[in-house]
């Protein structure tokens, strides 16, 4: 987790924008009366908020480097997911309230008013299609549905949101009460959309292409660390300019058959030099097998660095707590941190332990301590990472900064144990990509 300042500042900015949007409605509405007036007014407010919120959602996922650095990719993804559900609610409420409100004011029934809106009001049909597109994307993004499809399928389906935003844009100006009468309002609203669109184009397309040309990423070699773990060495030029910090990750797209259409986030498992980076990937299945077969010289489109999971220099002692593949970013941190560092590496079997020789070498060179906690819970008879156990493994724990990385279940129980052991919440840093 990054410092608390970044996320709070971003939330404050988003809230300020929402207040400005509500002020816009306030300013452009004189008074309303009756059920029809209330329904239409509610529909207008919901519509304005939705039009603003979709722009915010796009912004969260635009991979804007300063924001990514301050807030963290995992946090942004979680906000985007929550916000997405809320926005679909806003849009649905907007459509229903406007239709009902118009029907009441025009003394017709909602069904015929729906037909009137769809057939005679400009651009409303397109906006309705956009609504259904978003409902579809929302349905597909529900956890129950997402689990059944490949990540890539879900990812490419999600791009329909851009189409929906484009389809719905014009009806805001054509029928929106706050916009029809005011050129100034239309100008600023358009400016908002244009700025966000420009940011998306810059950070998601232009920057990766520019980096690709500048740094010439290529696969240097592949090493099998363990039966299910492989390290990929990526070479390039002027890598120092990327300013990647230990704990951060890149989004990797290997330009070879079968892999070019996928992009995956992997953390750097070593401190990068000016010419070489290393990532370590664990997994079973076609994708990992394909990675193991990568040929040296394969071009790579690397987008990054991302992530707010980086060491904060406070002068305190540090505890690194790794579970399974979570060792990857912590291995990079282990080499880069100064001061007193303790590493606890939890794995189910010794076969899952990677970098053992590297870790031992680093520990010896700088006087750090490594604890390998290997075995199933049954073997231990109790939770080997309970509060008591942690206090024993890392004396003075309550005064340390703790960096935690592992599978969701492990991180959850570890946070509880650390808190019980007396570590304040703000000193527990972790990254969780579940959303």
């Amino acid at each position: 987790m990054a410092t608390a300042v970044g996320p709070r500042a971003l939330l404050a900015a988003i809230a300020a924008g929402a207040v400005a949007v509500l002020a816009l409605w306030w300013h452009s509405t004189l008074s309303l009366a009756g059920l029809g007036g209330w329904l239409t007014g509610a529909g207008e407010i919901l519509g304005l908020l939705a039009g603003y919120a979709v722009v915010v959602l796009v912004l969260l996922m635009a991979r804007i480097r300063p924001i990514e650095r301050a807030v963290g990719a995992d946090q942004l993804a979680r906000w985007h997911a929550m916000g997405g559900r809320y926005v679909i609610g806003l849009i649905s409420g907007h459509a229903l309230a406007i239709t009902w409100g118009y029907a009441v004011t025009a003394h017709t029934n909602p069904v015929s008013e729906t037909a009137t809106l769809l057939t005679t009001y400009p651009d409303v049909l397109m906006a309705t299609i956009a609504w259904f597109l978003l409902l579809g994307v929302g349905a597909v993004s529900a956890r129950a549905v997402r689990r059944r499809m490949s990540y890539e399928t879900w990812y490419y389906l999600h791009f329909y949101t851009y189409l929906a935003i484009a389809l719905a844009f014009s009806h805001q100006f054509a029928v929106g009460a706050s916009f029809t009468g005011s050129l100034v309002t239309r100008f600023w609203w358009s400016a908002l959309y244009l700025v966000v669109a420009a940011l998306v184009l810059w950070y998601r397309i232009a920057v990766p292409v520019r980096d690709f040309a500048r740094h010439q990423f290529r696969v240097a070699g592949v090493r099998q660390e363990s039966p299910h773990t492989v390290s990929i060495y990526v070479k390039g030029r002027h890598l120092k300019e990327l300013a990647a910090e230990p704990g951060q990750f890149f989004r990797w797209r290997f330009l070879t058959r079968g892999l070019w259409w996928q992009s995956h986030p992997y953390s750097l498992s070593a401190v990068p030099s000016d010419e070489l980076m290393r990532i370590t990937v664990q997994g079973i299945g076609d994708h990992s097998a394909a990675l193991a077969r990568l040929r040296p010289g394969t071009r790579v489109l690397a987008e990054g660095p991302f992530g707010a999971f980086t060491p904060v220099r406070t002068g305190r002692s540090v505890l690194l707590l790794a579970g399974g593949v979570g060792i990857t970013p912590l291995r990079a941190m282990f080499a880069a941190l100064s001061g007193t560092v303790t590493l606890i590496y939890r794995a189910s079997t010794w076969q899952d332990i990677v970098f053992q020789s590297e870790l031992d070498a680093i520990a010896e060179a700088r006087g750090a301590t490594v604890h390998y906690v290997v075995g199933s819970r049954r073997d231990f008879g109790a939770d080997p990472l309970s509060a008591t156990a942690l206090r024993q493994l890392a004396p003075g724990l309550h005064r340390m900064d703790v960096y935690l990385c592992g599978p969701p279940g492990m991180t959850g129980s570890a946070v509880t144990a650390l808190t019980q052991a007396g570590v304040p919440r703000r000193r527990i840093h972790y990254e969780s990509f579940e959303f």
């Binding site: 306030w26 009366a33 025009a106």
Partner: protein, 133 residues
């Protein structure tokens, strides 16, 4: 789930607050000011209301009064620019106006309607006009 309930509740509460504030604020009142009009017959006055700026555009209505009875309503200005304006204007104004008219007070010269027969004519408005009403 709890977050969803919280979000919905907060949104509804916010909507109600915003909408009720706007319901209590006073709208533009049209203040009628008497205006002498040279082209009206004696005994009639045209009263033009102020332009009321609605969210959809300006509306201005003029009323012609004879001995405290409204004989004519002119819509001087109405929003015409969007489909919504036209949809509302198309039923609102004629309805408003038709409700208050009868042939005598409307000072018309002729009546257009579905064809009447010679017999039907006798009972018709046109007959009343032709006979000097």
């Amino acid at each position: 789930m709890r977050r969803a309930i919280l979000a919905v509740t907060a949104t509804v509460a916010g909507l109600v607050a915003l909408l009720s504030f706007k319901t209590h604020s006073s709208s533009e009142r049209t203040v009628a000011s008497p205006e002498p009009s040279a082209s009206l017959p004696p005994g009639e006055r045209a009263i033009t209301g102020n332009v009321a700026n609605t969210a959809y555009g300006p509306v201005q209505v003029q009323v012609v009064v004879a001995t405290s009875k409204i004989v004519k309503v002119n819509v001087l200005e109405q929003p015409q620019s969007t489909s919504r304006d036209l949809q509302i204007g198309q039923f609102a104004f004629p309805k408003l106006i038709g409700e208050t008219l009868s042939a005598q007070s409307a000072r018309i010269d002729s009546v257009s309607g579905a064809t009447y027969t010679s017999g039907g004519y006798i009972k018709s408005l046109q007959s009343a006009l032709d006979n000097g009403a």
